[in-house]
């Protein structure tokens, strides 16, 4: 049994960590946090040069042709560094949708551009309140154009193209949904930035008015493709969350060692020690669940739907738990803009919602476990 990353993959993780420590310091993150730039363009360029954007994209489409395990270790480091770039939208959602359902021409057009950092992509699924569900999709597609509004769309204001879920039927079934590729810089597309929990990753409202769109995948297959995309993204996001959890735990631990109160290190008080121990427990459970998700993703195993839901729930809980208790360990200082704690708190809570909330994934997990047991 070798339920671990290989030495090469661990080396890649170290390489990514080193690169991000240098190029993505908290100071750099703050430029985006403070609204002085929509995302870190220099970092995005650097990620492309390192080959990280296309690490799981086949060489024939301009990528490094490594695989999803390699992408997982990079994702972990992106989460640890709280990177202010559209990595998850472009790489986990748009690129994966293209890999699953894109025609050869579509792949040739977009994947090399993603790998080189020239194109930012995203997924436009949600239309206001609610979790992923075919019946919540009302945006209409007819005669090659889209009409409707999507929000929130992650990184929508900086994306060059979007994979858009649209209604093409009215049977009341999942088969009513189809996917489309839309260039967001073209006519008929209006984009408005939305203030959101995590300013280091933008959210937008996109209005489509007779916007030109080309089908992605077969008509009526949209929901089935989306389900696969969301499962893959759930695992990859889980690694970001695991990285973020570890960093928040480390910050709390370091502060508990440095800070003196009542004449002793606050890390010597059991109330603080036990809080940190519990953070370690949830981070460890999340990591182990995510490893299983990584295995299922990289082998395209039949277990992926269940593994992805478990990784999603576990990693979401861990990141939220570690981020909020990191602030608690820091006391009043943790509640200042100046300390970095709130960046992780914001990211943790934004990520908890992005692919659908915990309620949705809990439901998915139980359905999938029942399906497996019935089989």
């Amino acid at each position: 049994m070798n339920f671990d990353f290989s030495d090469d993959q661990k080396q890649l993780r170290d390489q990514a960590r080193k690169f991000l420590a240098e190029k993505c310091s908290p100071k750099a993150v703050r430029i985006v946090l403070d609204g002085k730039a929509p995302y870190d363009k220099e970092l995005w360029k650097g990620l492309a040069e390192m080959g990280f954007l296309g690490v799981a994209i086949p060489e024939e489409f301009g990528g490094a042709g490594a695989g999803h395990l390699e992408l997982c270790v990079i994702a972990e480091e992106m989460g640890r560094a709280n990177a202010p770039v559209p990595f998850s939208s472009t790489v986990y959602l748009a690129a994966e949708a293209l890999l699953i359902a894109g025609s050869d021409a579509q792949k040739k057009k977009w994947l090399p551009a993603i790998s080189s950092g020239e194109a930012i992509g995203t997924l436009a699924l949600f239309e206001g309140k609610g979790n992923p569900s075919a019946k919540n999709v009302t945006l209409a597609a007819a005669n090659g154009v889209l009409n409707g509004v999507k929000k929130p769309v992650a990184d929508g204001a900086i994306a060059d193209f979007a994979v858009v879920a649209a209604r093409t039927g009215s049977s009341g079934r999942d088969g009513d949904i189809s996917l489309f590729l839309v260039g967001l810089k073209a006519g008929g597309v209006e984009v408005k930035s939305l203030t959101n929990l995590d300013p280091t990753r933008g959210q937008a409202e996109i209005t489509f008015k007779d916007a030109k769109a080309e089908p992605l995948g077969a008509a009526g297959e949209g929901w089935s493709i989306l389900t696969q995309v969301l499962d893959r993204a759930a695992v990859l996001c889980a690694f970001e969350q695991v990285g973020g959890s570890d960093r928040a735990l480390e910050m709390g631990r370091d502060y508990a060692l440095d800070r003196i109160a009542f004449g002793r290190q606050i890390g010597s008080f059991q109330a603080v020690k036990h809080m940190l121990a519990d953070m370690y427990v949830s981070a460890t459970l999340a990591r182990s669940n995510s490893y299983y998700g990584a295995w299922a993703l990289s082998t395209n195993a039949g277990e992926l739907p269940e593994a992805a839901a478990a990784a999603r729930i576990s990693a979401t809980q861990a990141f939220q738990h570690c981020a909020k208790n990191n602030i608690q360990v820091h006391g009043g200082m943790g509640f200042t803009w100046e300390f970095d704690c709130h960046m992780y708190y914001r990211r943790a809570n934004a990520m908890a919602l992005g692919l659908g909330s915990l309620t949705y994934w809990e439901d998915q997990l139980i359905d999938r476990m029942r399906k497996k047991n019935a089989a």
């Binding site: 049994m1 990353f5 059991q270 020690k273 036990h274 182990s288 576990s314 809980q317 809990e362």
Partner: protein, 414 residues
């Protein structure tokens, strides 16, 4: 990343599986599979006898205490082979419970500190289950603070004379031998005045009294020592070095890697899958699903944490500290799971008798046994201290009794 055996591991697994298939006491398989926390008895047989017979059979064929050297009754196997054996032994592994302390803690301590002739005499019958061992550490005055123990050992010629009391001694009532931690010098700070021995539990002056637990069952005992004589050659380690010796014993608890921890989740999921509530199937109820999902990811998180440790063993590496979370997570989880299972039963959940209760009282028994899991072998609080100090590197507790002679430490809170 994969879950595959190496060719060597696969070969070992096939051999183990074939032997178990041909030799295990299959008539008890169903009952053992269905046993859960608080419920491990066999209906028509004495589990102690069944366990001893299975252990002896394993020993005769070279399958007992796999990781021990052959000359002491083991097989000389690698750590990963031991894990594979546990996986293959499956429900029959439940029969090893009564040997866990002897094999996991007493044996390794004897191996590290006993004289060669004692090792050759005592270890093989321990491995084969013919002799059962217990561990006499905890006392009324020293549970989590085990170094606060008060049982005295005083030198008298070539013997030591023991007086005092131990408590929470698992299996003392059916044990043949025990390892015993005593205080030999009360005038020095507490960790420095301890000495370890092993003794025959049938020695004159040893009295075992079962403790009736909160659950009503009796797995543990009080053990009283009145002028019990132990020859000096049964001392383990130097006089005054008992604390270090006991650390060896406790460190060996770590070797539990790969052994499944009980969370109660598979039982609860199975229960909810068929349970009807007032307004429909439990498994379709939103609140039930949310609870189940949260426990599911804890159970799978523990499972895959253990897989990561096994992978390290398979590569010949030392497992990381991740495995230290197992007991802490599983202990309170099984308590919560049992509580929730009864909640789902409504008022009738109060009925616990096997004849009348839902599922023959499985979850009621679990609930009543659960508080013990959060205390035995290190309380939740001690486990959190261990994670905080050894894994995260946080400072140890400030010890006000550290440099105080043992006999000057206060004995009453008020």
């Amino acid at each position: 990343m994969n879950f595959d055996d190496t060719p060597q591991e696969a070969e070992f697994r096939a051999t183990a599986r074939a032997w178990i298939g041909a030799n295990a006491p299959k008539q008890y398989e169903d009952e053992l599979r269905k046993s859960s926390l608080g419920r491990t008895a066999l209906k028509n047989a004495n589990i102690l006898e069944v366990a001893k017979a299975w252990q002896k059979k394993k020993a005769d064929a070279g399958w007992a205490c796999l990781h021990w050297p052959k000359e002491y009754g083991g097989r000389g196997s690698s750590p990963i082979e031991r894990v594979i054996w546990q996986q293959e032994e499956g429900p029959f592994g439940q029969l090893s419970r009564m040997f866990i302390i002897g094999h996991g803690m007493c044996g390794p301590t004897m191996m590290a500190f006993a004289r060669e002739e004692h090792k050759r005499t005592y270890l093989p019958p321990l491995a084969s289950g013919e002799k059962v061992w217990c561990q006499l550490f905890s006392e009324p005055a020293g549970g989590s603070d085990v170094a606060g123990l008060r049982t005295r050992a005083e030198k008298d010629g070539d013997d030591w004379v023991i007086n005092g009391q131990k408590i929470w001694t698992s299996g003392a009532h059916y044990s043949d031998y025990g390892i015993l931690l005593t205080r030999t010098d009360p005038t020095v700070p507490k960790h420095k005045g301890l000495t370890m021995f092993f003794l025959d539990m049938k020695s004159e002056g040893v009295e075992v009294r079962p403790i009736k637990q909160a659950s009503g069952a009796s797995d543990f005992n009080e053990v009283y020592f009145t002028n019990v004589r132990i020859p000096d050659h049964q001392r383990l380690g130097e006089v005054g070095d008992g604390w270090n010796v006991s650390l060896t014993t406790l460190m060996n608890e770590r070797s539990a890697i790969g052994a499944a921890v009980s969370t109660g989740f598979p039982e609860l999921f199975e229960y909810c899958s068929s349970l009807m509530l007032d307004d429909g199937p439990a498994i379709e109820d939103r609140a039930v699903r949310s609870k189940l999902a949260n426990w599911a990811v804890k159970a799978s998180g523990l499972k895959y944490t253990s897989m990561r440790a096994i992978s390290a063993l398979s590569k010949g590496e030392r497992p990381g500290p991740e495995n230290s979370i197992g007991k802490l997570v599983a202990g309170s989880m099984i308590q919560d799971v049992a509580t929730y299972a009864l909640d789902l039963q409504g008022a009738s959940g109060v009925v616990s008798g096997p004849e009348d209760a839902e599922l023959a009282g499985r979850f009621q028994a679990m609930l009543l046994r659960a508080p013990g899991t959060r205390v035995e072998g290190g309380t939740d609080e001690i486990m959190r201290n261990i994670i905080a100090e050894r894994v995260l590197g946080l400072p140890g507790d400030i010890r006000v009794d550290k440099d105080v002679p043992f006999n000057k430490i206060p004995t009453k809170g008020r």
